[in-house]
């Protein structure tokens, strides 16, 4: 069955430090891949997405993610974290086959220290 794994439940970084959030997926073909962010009191906001082509995708707020087929990964990165990046980050895949739904990971909570 298709699945998404985010191994890190909680990550803490200092402001200005680099960030990498991990995401691994399980799917027979190349899926559509997404990263969403949820700030407190806000909805899920799309950061970036990968469908095909260049495996390094740029998103909003200075985020990027790299699709690595050999590792079934789609890790999210940011070179310098800002305090406002503190939020919950979700990796997702979909739609898959004939279904319309997204499959999400459990999320990674990012805490940023000044």
């Amino acid at each position: 069955a298709q699945s998404v794994t985010q191994p890190d439940i909680h990550i803490t970084v200092s402001e200005g430090a680099s960030l990498e959030l991990r995401c691994n997926y399980s799917y027979g073909a190349t899926p559509y891949l997404f990263w969403y962010v949820q700030s407190p009191g806000q909805g899920l906001q799309l950061l970036l997405k990968y469908f095909s082509g260049d495996t390094l995708v740029q998103g909003i707020k200075g985020f990027e993610a790299e699709f690595k087929r050999s590792q079934s990964s789609f890790n999210l990165r940011k070179p310098s974290v800002h305090w406002s990046d503190a939020a919950e980050y979700f990796c997702a895949v979909g739609p898959l086959g004939n279904t319309d739904k997204l499959i999400f990971g459990t999320g990674t909570r990012l805490q940023v220290f000044p």
């Binding site: 969403y36 009191g41 909805g43 979700f90 739609p95 319309d100 739904k101 999400f104």
Partner: protein, 117 residues
């Protein structure tokens, strides 16, 4: 950017009571979705809705759940007799076209936190 609006932001109810969670999708969107997230678990798909009928539903979406678009703007999720395990954050989402096309952006609301006591 256009927004999906959900009300209320928090709902507390007694076990066995009916609740209705409300959503106002983006005005020109035609496909509507409910997802939920139980604390500490994954965001899970519940149901998709198009043209006044359910397009797809998950195993979670049993007979206790129903969805409705009662007018041209609202999209509701009803839980007939709530259980403790229904406590979760419920997210509404909408798109202009079906997501099977892959490149359609899914807009989410900020969620309703449902607590069943």
């Amino acid at each position: 950017e256009p927004e999906v609006t959900q009300t209320p932001s928090h709902q507390v109810t007694q076990m066995g009571q009916e609740v209705i969670l409300r959503c106002v999708p983006i005005s020109n969107h035609l496909y509507f979705y409910w997802y939920r997230q139980i604390l500490g678990q994954k965001v899970e798909f519940l149901v998709s809705f198009y043209n006044n009928e359910i397009s797809e539903k998950s195993e979670i979406f049993d007979d206790q759940f129903s969805v409705e678009r009662p007018d041209g703007s609202n999209f509701t999720l009803k839980i007939r007799s709530t259980k403790l395990e229904d406590s979760a954050m419920y997210f509404c989402a909408s798109t202009r076209t079906p997501r099977r096309r892959g490149n359609e952006k899914l807009f989410f609301g900020s969620g309703t936190q449902l607590s069943v006591l």
